[in-house]
Amino acid sequence: MLKQRPYLIELLTAAGLIVAPFVLPWFGFAPNTVNRILVWGLFGLGFDILFGFTGLLSFGQSAFYGTGGFVAAWLLTRAGFPNVVLALVIGMIAAAAAGYLIGLIALRRTGIYFAMITVAIAEVFFFVEFNPLSDFTGGENGLPGVPTPSFNLGFTTLHFTTGWSLYQFLALCYFIGVVIALRIVRSPVGAVFSAIRDNPLRATAVGHNIHGYKLTAFVIAAAYAGFAGGLLGVLQAFMPPDAFTFDTSGQLVMQTAIGGRGTLFGPLVGAAVWLSLQDFLQAALGLGAAWKLVLGVVFVLLVCFLRRGIIGGLADLSDLLTGQRGAREPEESEPEVAAVASAPHAAVADAAPTPVRARPEGGPTGPILQAKGLTKRYGGLLANSDIDFTVNHGELRGIIGPNGAGKSTFFKMLTCEVHPTSGTILFEGRDITGMNVTDVCQLGLTKSYQVNQLFAGLTVRENLVIAALSGLRGKFKLDLFRSIDSIPGLTERVQHTLELVNLASRPDTPVAELAYGEKRRLEIGLALATSPSLLLLDEPLAGMSPRERVETVKLLKSISQGRTMIIIDHDMDALFELAERVTVLQEGRVLVEGTPEEIKNNSTVQEAYLGGVHGVLAA
């Protein structure tokens, strides 16, 4: 949605801000109301990056709004600081610093814990403002006398005082805020933000340090809040202590949800609705204090029925009216039909002797992965015991075993999702025991999951971009202002992966609209896009129809060219066809290891896996 033409949104925003003073009075907007809407809108830009884009719902933004506001106001009124803009910036930095410290604590937990902690922290700020720091903040009186900005340009001095005059300054601030926010959400960091919102577990597994990125989003939101708080003081010529109240945080949350989260402009729209309804209900209808009840009811109804707020609702409506969705569907399903139709032929072709897999040429030889004495104990249950396992560079290894043999636990230990009770794992000669998933992925070891772990709210291409970014940028990098398209090698890698997993025909389809088989291929694609030197596949064929299986086996064969892979699956025919060597696990131990032929004819395997030939005969 935010992609379209370059600078289109920036230009529209600028045009809107320039036209507003000429248009809005016609609708009965007082300049002071418009200015308040802008301050809330700027406050909300940062909050939307935190909530709408990163998925972290904070009920404590008042802490940073108040911090920024009071630091700026104190500088301007008590410390005799002459420069308004500089004071605002210092306030913003102070709020960002507070955000960093608070983020370190609040982000130790996620979800509702995070929400509760932010509420509690904001309440502390409120009390601190009122009591211990009341000498600086004026306590319940706030800080009166905040000056408005003026700029000495040499030949003339620009004063921004009140009303539409101050509007020009606020509009400029808002515009700059929008430009920065747009750059952030279009940057690689922005892409990782949305990955964290959609599936934090997978974002970690494809090699992003999500804690660092969450903290980044939190600090960005705090910085925006701090600057907006400073502007509130400038706007009212007075810094009110109620900036610190829970009501401030609550109002911000509600305005963002009303306007539409994840849109950047949602908070502005929400603030416009909120403030104009407040004026309308209080003044025109004479409802007095009941206005808040009406807004509360409106808010609850919106959350119930219009999840994406006003902007989201309008976008859906325009899609409906232009018939975009309806027209897109049939066109999209076509490649799928074609793929399925071609499958039987493919199967025939594959019946021919499998071509010898190409080994990575000139690459390293010898073991890429060595596990020694790997044991995992869950309480009394021994999931894996004393597994020795070695895979060489360029090998394609299969792992089979009955249900409960400990295959998935074994994979989880190899990728460091769970840590072994004892034993060591060497990857490319390096001890990775006890490292975390992110670091291991960065080293080049990742897996595709047994149950799809996709970024469900994004398109196929965006999914792969997120995975590819970790390989190209490392686990944490603050390239906040870099365009995602300017990263060398990204487009090629994503395109290459799209082709490898046979999704090149529908890169811009949202994941939710994919067929199951396609989602499964994208799951593999996510792991591939990190360009691992060792790829683990946990039951890539699980839940597939026979046709999809044939397709996927073909796909796995082509992927395996020049790669080292380990595949777990229950489909033995497929695995015997694919793998060069097969390891059989049973009851958490390695039962036997050998070529597919050896395994097929091994009597212990038959005994364990098939109940034994004798058993069958006896029955």
């Binding site: 909530f51 998925g55 719902l57 009920f59 604590i105 130790r108 937990r109 996620t110 979800g111 509702i112 814990y113 929400a115 509760m116 902690i117 509420v119 509690a120 922290i121 309440e123 502390v124 409120f126 009390f127 601190v128 009122f130 009591n131 211990p132 829970f246 609550g250 949350v253 509600m254 949800a257 204090a289 009941a290 808040k292 009840l293 509360g296 009811v297 808010f299 609850v300 959350v303 119930c304 999840r307």
Partner: protein, 291 residues
């Protein structure tokens, strides 16, 4: 210098506040544990309980009737809220649940404000519990002593429901794994409704008991909600014993700090929460992975 009688009386204050917080928090925590919904309208339930009790008391003059009627009213309100709105949110993201309960809380507060105005109402303690009691070394308001006893009885009742009844067993099983309970053929949604009602009632009951201690305003639930969050974070989400322990800790921290400087009460409370988060991120008595 510490004034000993004053210190002990603050300890008692902390105990009374802590007991109330424990009761409210256990309501919040069993709802969250079972339904997976953090009810941001829980503070409003506390407030409405106070008002419902106040109204009954003004008409009947009976404290007992006020407690019964107020608790039942809040329980029914909770059940209605769950039936009409909350149940549609079980399969929506946590953020949506937070937003809708937050909105409902505001609606409740504003409705009460509309009816009773923002002015504070004074609910006197029952005649029997008025005055002060001599504890030998200090005199202490009788009603506050009684609060500790009444809340202890209520918590005991909640304990019996949770740990000694079939329903309680289902609820505790639901806290561990509600999907599994559902697949065992137990109508988990009916249990959800009952739990929401009981949880709301715990807050409402506390609201009635608390009304004579502080004056009633529509905003009385807001601060309590924040304190409840801290209690739950300290004790561990979904843990009934954790809520009691956390409540007592929080009550004492607030009271004792207030003796020196009320302005730092929240700072100390927050410091305690941070300490717990750093040392035991899942709370003192919480289970890891329950979030």
């Amino acid at each position: 210098m510490i004034n000993w009688p004053n210190f002990v009386s603050q300890l008692f204050n902390g105990l009374a506040l802590g007991a109330l917080l424990a009761l409210i928090s256990s309501g919040l925590t069993i709802i969250y544990g079972t339904l997976g919904v953090l009810n941001l309208a829980h503070g409003a339930m506390f407030m409405i309980g106070g008002y419902a009790g106040y109204v009954t008391y003004s008409y009947t003059g009976s404290f007992i009737l006020a407690v019964i009627a107020g608790s039942l009213f809040v329980m029914l309100l909770g059940v209605a809220m769950e039936r009409i709105i909350i149940r549609h949110f079980y399969h929506r993201p946590h953020e949506d649940q937070l937003l809708v309960t937050f909105g409902l809380g505001i609606c409740f507060v504003e409705i009460v404000r509309l009816i009773f105005t923002s002015q504070s109402q004074v609910a006197p303690p029952p005649a029997l519990l008025q005055g002060i009691t001599s504890l030998g070394f200090l005199f202490y308001p009788t009603y506050r002593l009684a609060v500790v006893g009444i809340v202890a009885v209520a918590l005991g009742g909640l304990f019996l429901i949770l740990y000694r009844t079939r329903l309680g067993m289902i609820v505790r099983a639901g806290i561990e794994d509600s999907v599994m309970v559902d697949s065992l053929g137990i109508n988990v949604y009916r249990v959800f409704m009952i739990v929401f009602g009981i949880g709301a009632m715990a807050a409402g009951f506390a609201g009635i008991i608390n009304a004579p201690v502080v004056s009633l305003t529509p905003g009385v639930g807001d601060d309590i909600l924040v304190e409840t969050f801290v209690v739950v974070v300290i004790g561990g989400v979904g843990s009934f014993p954790g809520a009691i322990l956390g409540g007592l800790i929080a009550g004492e921290i607030i009271s004792i700090t207030s003796m020196f400087n009320p302005g730092y009460a929240y700072v100390m409370l927050f410091a305690a929460m941070t300490l717990v988060l750093v040392l035991r991120p899942h709370g003192l008595l919480g289970t890891q992975g329950r979030e």
